[in-house]
């Protein structure tokens, strides 16, 4: 059935792929041998996923060839890739939430489609076989939506192996895991490498060091470096990844002695699915202080940000801002108290994508005296302001009439930042501010946040990047299952300590 008994070598040669306006892969060549683990490293947007999607037959390369065991293969659809024994676990899990584990795996197993009825018994047998062999326990009859993130990832692995993968591609498999879960996964993959070859995409260098034999670094769609992992330090790899020595803007000032600005007490908030996403959450933040909120995403961060900003209903508990209770106010009322908010979904929530930059600048202030009078917009003032902010925040765009949605991620974030900072907020909630941005934009945004802190504004920084949190924060809180685990000062915090807290273990236990 499978085309190759073994994959001794997978080689891509001179792969080039263009999307309109973007060169996603630029003459990439790579080789992975049997039982090898290759780490593919690069910043967001460097073209890692695009390259892997081409190996999976999801995209077609514009130029270049792919070889298995020296034989050229044509991968037009994922089925071709499965036939060759290649399988991939995508970063966003490819599981249908309202179907069972069994059905999800049957969806890929064409063998089970022979009759009128799906042969679920056969699929079940296969699942049992695979989970036994690799020690990956899954419940075949559970619905996907019932499973936690870690379990879903196991299902993905089982699915990929059931489809006969001998060559595994893992796209940022640890991005949603705690440091401890990550360690387990790495141990598992290490043991699997005696039977499989693996390409492992990551931008977390400690994982790369721990797992991989070889490392390839992509930058702007090009392979800029290849080598044996053991020969290089994390720092050297980081420098190659970004193209320059990483300079971090760090917060080295004395911790703020300001008054409490935002106090959250016993806050309970429900998620979209109806369970308690925040469960008696407590936290207070002073003016002129950055508090980082660390945690694996999905532990209530989004709900916290939305509850503070009036977008999500608060079940119980209080949010006190500058001495006034603001829980369950409307978003408009919260904005009026001087709250600023950089949301997680910058493309769909932070801006109205089809509206111009100029119109996005006044999103929160169309009724203010500056921009309108008797409900008539003052176009001149709006254009002047937009033009000024464009220069001040270095927003690279054809003009202020350009649709904001057509800008790059970094520039969209600058539009949001420009709007929020120019409103002179008394507090800023900042969610994953540099996710997916290039180093330049990220540095710029961090600089602005530190400036804002200096001016006495309190900032709640929600992030998954421990490095970002540890560099910028005065104090660090850790969220797990909707509870605040512990608050550490900048000096106390280490990656290990935070990791343990993120996994839900309290230190004193």
């Amino acid at each position: 059935m499978a085309r190759f008994d073994k994959i001794k070598e997978l080689r891509v040669e001179h792969i080039t792929k263009r999307f309109p306006g973007v060169l996603a892969s630029d003459d990439i060549s790579l080789t992975v041998g049997e039982h090898q683990i290759l780490a593919l490293v690069g910043e967001n947007g460097a073209g890692k996923t695009t390259l892997m999607n081409m190996i999976m037959g999801l995209y077609q390369p514009d130029e270049g060839k792919i070889f298995i065991n020296g034989e050229e293969v044509s991968l037009k659809t994922p089925n071709d890739a499965f036939d060759c024994g290649i399988g991939m676990v995508h970063q966003q899990y490819m599981l249908v939430p309202n179907m069972t584990v069994l059905e999800n795996i049957a969806l890929g197993m064409k063998k089970s489609w022979k009759g009128i009825k799906v042969d679920l018994a056969m699929v079940r047998k296969q699942i049992e076989e695979i989970s036994g062999k690799y020690g990956l326990a899954v419940d075949p009859d559970a619905f996907i939506w019932q499973l936690a993130v870690g379990e879903q990832q196991r299902v993905e692995l089982v699915k990929t192996l059931c489809l006969g993968a001998k060559f595994l591609i893992l796209d940022e498999p640890t991005s949603a895991l705690t440091p401890q879960e990550t360690d387990e996964l790495i141990a598992l993959l290490k043991s699997m490498s005696s039977e499989l070859s693996i390409i492992f995409i990551s931008h977390k260098l400690n994982e790369v060091k721990a797992l991989s034999d070889r490392v390839s670094i992509l930058r702007h769609g090009k392979v800029v470096f290849e080598g044996s992992t053991a020969d290089y330090t994390s720092k050297q790899i980081a420098a190659l990844m970004t193209g320059h020595e990483v300079e971090v803007n760090a917060n080295t000032d004395e911790p703020s002695k300001g008054e409490d600005s935002l106090v959250i007490k016993d806050l309970c908030v429900r998620s979209d699915r109806g369970f308690l996403a925040l469960d008696n959450f407590n936290l207070s933040i002073r003016s002129g202080e950055i508090v980082g909120l660390a945690g694996v995403s999905g532990n209530g961060q989004r709900e916290l940000a939305e509850a503070i900003n009036g977008i999500r209903k608060v079940e119980s508990g209080t949010i006190t801002f500058q001495g006034k209770q603001i829980q369950n106010l409307t978003p408009g009322q919260v904005i009026a108290t001087g709250m600023g908010y950089i949301p997680e979904e910058r493309n769909t929530e932070g801006i109205v994508p089809s509206m111009s930059i100029k119109e996005n600048i006044i999103l929160k202030d169309s009724e203010s005296d500056t921009f309108s009078k008797n409900h008539i917009l003052k176009n001149g003032v709006i254009e002047d302001t937009a033009g000024r902010l464009r220069t001040e925040f270095d927003i690279r765009c054809p003009g202020i009439h350009t649709a904001a949605g057509s800008l790059s991620g970094g520039n969209i974030q600058k539009v949001i930042l420009a709007r929020e900072i120019s409103r002179k907020p008394k507090f800023l909630v900042c969610v994953y501010p540099i996710r997916g941005l290039d180093m330049g934009a990220a540095e710029f945004i961090h600089m602005e946040l530190l400036k804002l802190r200096k001016s006495g504004v309190g900032i709640l920084l929600i992030s998954e990047e421990l490095e970002e949190i540890m560099n910028l924060s005065d104090r660090i809180a850790v969220i797990f299952k909707g509870k605040n685990q512990k608050v550490l000062s900048r000096d106390e915090a280490t990656t290990e300590k935070l990791g343990i807290l993120m996994a839900g273990v309290k230190e004193d236990e």
Binding site: E349, S354, S366, L377
Partner: protein, 364 residues
């Protein structure tokens, strides 16, 4: 540099028009009509004389007013296909006043009737707006259902409470509107009436509302991205409902104008499909008040052609409805094609790549 994009857009639109004409031709052939004669009648008849041109204009008036309302709601993120029902409600309210308050001076009665129509239509538009904002009921379904409800209610009204007691033929219809409540004709020998002024005023008002005021800004933001608008402190539900009320009010006023300027009394089926055609007009005018003016003129021509087709050809006037549907399908498809960067890229490679290569060779 952007040359090829413009060429591409023109090419796409040209192909779309061609497809529409060809499908139309196929239907005409299928029903045994003469394609060129039919198209010629559609295009030329309106311009034969001033009378026929005013026939187009009196159809354009309700179309324009309805489409302006639909543009407001569509830009706010709610597609109002209930204009038909809102027109009926407007007509009922306007009829009640126009047939009973004839003793008041014209300057009072006419605005009263139009405003009554607007209020009735607006209230009827409020229902689907509220259902969508508060209960997440799809406006596509609720407005369609409300159309049927309004039609039945209208039929009841002209059969019982508003029935003309002098009418002996058994056809349900209301009394004629009072002389003081009619929109006078502007010229002798032409059916063009004062309603056109209302249409012109509304174009300006809706344009300013949408693009110059904070309300319009918020409505457009809510329509373009509900999430972002909510994040920006805009009360999305409120503006959704307001936009539906405005939309319904426009339809209601269009109904009143049709009553007072054209029909003179409420009769069954008098909305004449203006509510649905208004959707097509609004789309065809790119939901922009100024573009809707020529769009409604074009559809005025199409609707007027129904009369001529019936008199002069064997082609059934229902053809126009099929064509309208076809135009919607083509517009929505064309909008996607025009903005698809991949097709643009392919087009550039296919037709412009050679030229660009030559250019670089020369430069080298």
């Amino acid at each position: 540099m952007n040359n090829y994009k413009l060429v591409y857009k023109i090419a796409v639109v040209a192909v779309a028009v061609l497809i529409a004409l060809l499908v139309g031709a196929a239907i005409i052939i299928a029903v045994g009509g003469d394609v060129f004669a039919t198209y010629w009648i559609i295009i030329s008849m309106p311009f034969k004389n001033f009378r026929s041109l005013s026939e187009v204009l009196i159809r354009m008036i309700p179309l324009l007013i309805v489409a302006l309302g639909i543009a407001v709601s569509s830009r706010s993120g709610i597609i109002n296909i209930g204009a038909e029902g809102q027109m009926y409600m407007g007509i009922i309210a306007a009829t009640a006043i126009a047939t009973n308050c004839g003793s008041l001076p014209k300057i009072i009665v006419v605005p009263m009737c139009i405003i009554a129509g607007g209020i009735a239509g607006g209230l009827y538009g409020f229902i689907p707006g509220w259902l969508k904002a508060k209960l997440e009921v799809s406006e596509l379904l609720s407005t369609v259902m409300l159309n049927y409800v309004a039609t039945q209610f209208f039929n009841f009204c002209i059969r019982v409470p508003l029935l003309d007691p002098m009418e002996k033929s058994g056809t349900p219809m209301s009394r004629r509107v009072a002389e003081n409540a009619t929109l006078s004709r502007l010229f002798r020998g032409s059916s063009l009436h004062q309603g056109i002024f209302l249409a012109i005023i509304l174009v300006v008002v809706i344009y300013i509302l949408l693009f110059k005021t904070t309300w319009g800004y918020k409505m457009r933001a809510a329509g373009a991205s509900e999430r972002a608008a909510r994040y920006g402190g805009i009360n999305v539900s409120k503006y959704l409902i307001i936009s539906m009320v405005i939309s319904g009010a426009c339809a209601g006023m269009a109904g009143a104008v049709e009553l007072m300027g054209v029909q003179g009394r409420a009769v069954a089926g008098m909305t004449g499909g203006y509510g649905f055609s208004g959707v097509v007009v609004a789309l065809f005018g790119a939901l922009h008040p100024l573009w809707i003016v020529p769009a409604s003129f074009f559809f005025g021509i199409l609707l007027y052609s129904q009369v001529n087709l019936q008199i002069l050809t064997s082609v059934p006037p229902n053809l126009v409805k099929a064509l309208q549907g076809l135009i919607i399908l083509i517009i929505v498809a064309v909008q996607m094609v025009i903005n698809n960067p991949y097709s643009i890229e392919r087009f550039r490679k296919r037709f412009f790549a050679g030229r660009e290569m030559k250019k670089t060779e020369k430069e080298a």
